[in-house]
Symmetry: C2
Subunit: 383 residues, 2 copies
């Protein structure tokens, strides 16, 4: 398969966008990516739109054709791709295969979600559709509650207290304060973390990422057409059971491990080579488990990477460098592409106040459900 | 891009499957395709699931990972693809690009829909999400009503009466009677067509296809690995505006024309070379418009092809050879793959009582919305 490069990136702020409709958000990010790439809409051959909840919350399916016509793509191939909160990572994956196949030279991928002002439905009910409807959702469990059960088990197995998770939130908010597109741009203190109200024990306010409205986009081309552009060196998706109770080991994210291993193999690298890891910190427990299953920490030691400062901007493996899901915000079906936009900006040296030094390789990881779909991508500058 | 072949096909009957859940339907079709291909689940590298309404009707998103684990695919890459009623055609398209890219050798595509026994929502409200929510759905229009407006306009422009559309329904039901997987297996008469109760004037009962529960699947491999298998010679998607009022000409399906032209060009054929056309007869007006925009009839003459018997089993261009959407049934996100299963069976000479003679090339066309997403595929046996 031929190599793929990222010629353009675009994003809206993550916010409560009451004045922008779903299609307008998507088009704004898409136009920004086209502008960044120096291309016109008519040059786009295919559009893939990542989204999870528009059917439940916006009474709208069929976002491929909808966004294509809003962008003026003149009949281009288009469709929507969904893998719960991993939708945008899956969307990127299809864009890469489309360009990699040789049949497409100019592909736009957009992730979009409009969750704060909706025409129908309930956000909590919409989000639990990422879990197993027949065996989890039907019993009234929420998505936060499922993650709380996993976090409680992890704390029991490894002897952690709630405070031990604080560095994940503190780091994310410190970095989000440097990102003008973040929904929260305020640092938080340990005391604030400790005082966060309980959501689903042991997950309190600062263990959970905020939903929001937003869209992010990438313009993909064959690497040979863009010798200076950031390249996609690894791209892999793996899956696990939706229902947490179907797993033999609920604190090991097997799809994270499989997806990361495949991406490392494609890129010919190991965890030690990764300089930046934009992981899926929808909940602080997910950050810890992702670090472990991706090979950055032994089992039970993911939290230690946070406590030891390894994950901070000045650490060996920064995570959530622009705020992560926790502080930039988590417009679910767009999140995976926000991660890519941010990693690309970091590799280009265009991350503004959040810029990290000495980056060679960045990894992104987008998770759908409680680890049921995992999309891992590895990016690098041309050496 | 390397050529792709269809090594296995599988389908459930289209019916009211009250004893089978969404995931069980999908797995049944997937297992049938694997069995037909002589492969084990662990050999599948990626699964793409086409579905439109599961979020609205079954309280379940995230069907990629869900169906992958139900099938025992052991962590395979998986995601869901949606393009309203064109979901399954779009799903096939992504499967083709995945195999065509060279990165995947064994890809399963499944279309599934469970619409008759649901846990929430309303089918009519779920289906109108294929249309423009802000400018069509919000005004209370239904999907049938939109097609009725198009049909009325067509009748006015070209001077047709309601009876003129009867041969589409009569042909579909005659052919569905020969398909054990069809939801309706009874021929109908002109009198029955004329007596059909009005749904949305001028669309009466036999102008509209029935919804149903069902799943259909294909197992795709590189053509060089399966020299005897049916090959995919053309594959293209094109889009148009969701809102019918945004089009300059509501009786010309421009996305049908673009998609068909691209598929013809890829396959190096013209309409005259096509021996079987499994088109998207969700409504009789859609059958007429598809015949015209695909190049089989002049504008306003699509209905004549039906009246002249060209579209019958013994005609020059059979359509709906196993019943079409009208008589086999229209489980919306699965329909595009039912078309492929049926075309493949016809090309293999395994279509049972519905078998046509002398087939060389078959074309399928799956439509999302009122012509907003159109996926056209051309299949052929190795010469």
């Amino acid at each position: 398969m031929r190599e793929v490069a990222i010629l353009g990136v675009g994003q809206t702020a993550v916010a409560e966008h009451w004045s922008l409709s779903l299609r307008q958000l998507a088009a704004q990010a898409g136009r920004a990516a086209l502008h960044d790439a120096g291309l016109e809409p008519a040059q786009v051959q295919a559009l893939y739109v990542g989204n999870m909840t528009s059917g439940s919350l916006n009474a709208q399916q069929h976002l491929g054709a909808l966004v294509a016509s809003e962008l003026g793509l003149e009949g281009a191939e288009a469709m929507r791709i969904e893998a719960a909160c991993g939708s945008a990572g899956a969307t990127l994956r299809q864009g890469i295969l489309a360009v990699g196949s040789g049949q497409m030279d100019t592909v736009l991928v957009v992730g979009v979600e409009k969750m704060t002002e909706t025409v129908k439905g309930d956000t909590t009910a919409a989000l639990v559709q990422a879990a197993d409807a027949d065996f989890e959702g039907a019993h009234g469990v929420t998505f936060v509650a499922l993650n709380a059960l996993i976090m409680r088990r992890y704390m029991l197995e490894h002897g952690y207290q709630h405070d031990d998770f604080a560095p994940f939130a503190i780091n994310a908010h410190a970095n989000g304060a440097k990102n003008p597109h973040a929904i929260f741009q305020e640092p938080i203190t340990l005391k604030a973390y400790q005082r966060g109200r309980m959501v689903a024990d042991p997950i309190s306010l600062y263990d959970a990422s905020p939903i929001g409205d937003g869209a992010a986009a990438l313009l993909l081309v064959p690497a040979e057409r863009a010798p200076e552009a950031v390249r996609i060196l690894g791209s892999a998706i793996a899956t696990d059971t939706l229902a947490v109770h179907d797993r033999t080991d609920v604190t090991w994210l097997s799809a994270v491990a499989k997806s990361a291993e495949r991406a490392y193999a494609q890129a010919g690298v190991s965890p030690a080579d990764i300089d930046l890891f934009e992981l899926h910190d929808a909940f602080s427990i997910m950050a810890a488990l992702s670090l472990e299953a991706s090979g950055f920490a032994e089992r039970g030691r993911g939290v230690r990477l946070a406590q030891d400062g390894v994950i901070f901007s000045n650490g060996r493996l920064p995570i959530a460098s622009m705020g992560g899901l926790k502080s930039r915000g988590h417009p679910v079906g767009a999140t995976g592409l926000y991660q890519l936009v941010e990693a690309t900006l970091q590799l280009r040296g265009r991350a503004g106040a959040a810029q990290l030094d000495g980056l060679r390789l960045a990894m992104t990881q987008n998770i759908g459900g409680s680890g049921a779909t995992v999309a891992t991508h590895i990016l690098g500058n041309v050496q």
